[in-house]
Point group: C2
Chain length 349, copies 2
């Protein structure tokens, strides 16, 4: 395995953006070449590119595609049109924090170089997009290298949802740990929770594991407990959407289930996430608002109704795992063990 | 609510068998009137009727439909043709123990009355089928009445899979407890695990709860833990496929997950099953062979592929819950508490 993964979900191809169209996965591996900002907008809107970091990176390259052919030479006009491009791209997924963050970072950078020529500003824009992409890659790789140290020889690792290269610039978060542990020859097999309701494990994680030639087996989420009972799981690693000051972790629904089961079976439970996921303004997990998603994610599949009409549904997107069930949190800065509150404090000061 | 549930999955309608065609659920409530043994064979084969006790009952009525128009008057000829009918019906679901048990019970009964006329034997056959059906109803009702005593006021009950009137002669097993607790005014709401991979909770249990007008909410299996964490579950009740001499219980995959989570959250975990489910010849759960089912149950849905082709899948039909996680086992003979080994022994002697 080279430094690169065996596929690139997003790559800058000297003038255009190439993405894997995730709507074709896992059936077909289709690459789309995006040459205009409109195509990037469409790709984000239609979930051809998904995963918070990946959306941010695609948006950044899309920004460059949107401004590269501007002919004005006046900064104010250029900046004003750049703002329009940023607003437009942001409208493709208005709730994606990484997207608005990336677009805003480019705008701020352009403004900081307001004395430069428009041609130079275009170059700076592209360089910033490449930097955003490279930073994400480096960060994911660091998470993977740190986390791999925790993986024992011949490990059977259970994971949940998709946290791989498809969702990030490359490597992923929890997936990066699996990838780098595999590179170090330590992975016996990966158990993949299918991850209801949207089946990211089934659709995407298995596909990434196939690409990386890592042995794996797919299981329904409720079979994870039975696997642990049979002594077939050595460790569990998941991603995180938000980590509070005390280490409580919000992540894909089902994560808390795994953490409780891990404790009951004395299996290490690890969380992998960029350092930026830690929200030092939030004291504890009880303060995290749980988004409830559409009922149809649970009541229908592939257009076929699987539950009676008008059935009441509880469909939380996330759950919250309390810090006492987490063995360690792995970020690009290293492995953080309990007491999380104290150890986060040290890192942030 | 009368003594009868609000629907009849199987009913004998003075000359023919009426069933709910379960292949149309939950979208449409379609009743089929079966007038020939061939139609009954087809209904069992095509899963129009499903659930172990329900198949046995349908088979028994089908037996009568198969022999009622025989014109011979000689016992040996009648018995030989009856055996042929039993073999034929049994071939619709050869692995269904309740089916072969019911068919054999009728054959044994016919043989015991070999001195009677063929017309009388036909009557005896129908009466035996009705008895098998009535016994199942009574047994399920007893389970429900005993179990309802364990349900506190205003209870929020979580259940898994389908254990209701669709799968039995009426009332069901775990479902019967919910039904009778509701009748006693004690049910606040029922949480329904969708029950991957075949979604019996989503497709069938919600439908039965709607029919019985019991408040309920559907959730994905991996959200059960989060519900417990939030203090929204007062008790859990599931069915059982097989209970060993020490109380270890094999049941639908996901049951063990619930039992571990119940323990961690200090929530009572009950198992409901006919007394005949207890296998005193099997010492403990470790001896139960776990059936693995077809990969496509996990990798495809409604004809749509959801995982890469050739992915390795672990798809156990059942898991085994150790006796120490079970608060009580409810049978038609009453509530059995630990020590199960000792208390089973008392009941069986």
């Amino acid at each position: 395995m080279s430094d690169r993964d065996s596929f690139q979900s997003i790559s800058w191809e000297n003038g255009y953006l190439r993405i894997i169209d995730q709507t074709f996965l896992p059936k077909r591996e289709v690459y789309s070449d995006l040459t205009t900002v409109g195509q990037v907008w469409d790709a984000i809107k239609k979930l051809r590119v998904r995963g918070a970091p990946a959306i941010g990176i695609a948006g950044a390259y899309g920004f460059y595609l949107g401004i590269k052919d501007f002919s004005m030479q006046n900064f104010d006009m250029f900046y004003s049109e750049s703002q329009r491009i940023a607003d437009y791209l942001n409208s493709s997924r208005p709730t994606a924090v990484n997207l608005s963050w990336a677009l805003n970072r480019i705008l701020v950078t352009i403004y900081a170089y307001k004395d430069r020529s428009v041609d130079e500003l275009k170059e700076i824009t592209l360089k910033t997009a490449i930097t955003i992409h490279e930073e994400d890659r480096r960060l994911c790789k660091e998470i993977g290298l740190h986390g791999a140290e925790l993986v024992p020889e011949n490990a059977r690792i259970l994971t949940h949802c998709n946290t791989g290269g498809l969702a990030t610039g490359e490597f992923g978060t929890a997936f990066s740990i699996i990838l780098h542990a595999h590179k170090a020859g330590k992975v016996n097999k990966v158990w993949v929770d299918e991850t209801r309701p949207l089946l990211q494990g089934s659709r995407l994680t298995t596909w990434e594991l196939q690409k990386a030639k890592i042995p794996h087996t797919l299981n329904i989420d409720s079979a994870a407990a039975f696997l642990m009972q049979q002594g077939k799981v050595d460790l569990i690693v998941t991603g995180a959407d938000r980590i509070t000051k005390n280490g409580d972790t919000a992540n894909k629904i089902g994560t808390y289930m795994l953490a409780v089961l891990a404790k009951a079976h004395e299996i290490p439970f690890y969380v992998a996430a960029p350092y930026s996921t830690i929200d030092m303004n939030l004291e504890s997990g009880g303060l995290i608002e749980i988004e409830e998603r559409d009922d149809t994610e649970v009541t229908a599949f592939a257009g076929k109704q699987t539950a009676p009409k008008k059935v009441d549904v509880y469909n939380p997107a996330f759950d919250v795992t309390p810090n006492n069930l987490i063995t360690a949190i792995i970020t690009e800065k290293g492995i953080i063990k309990p007491n999380f509150a104290k150890n986060f404090e040290k890192l942030f000061t």
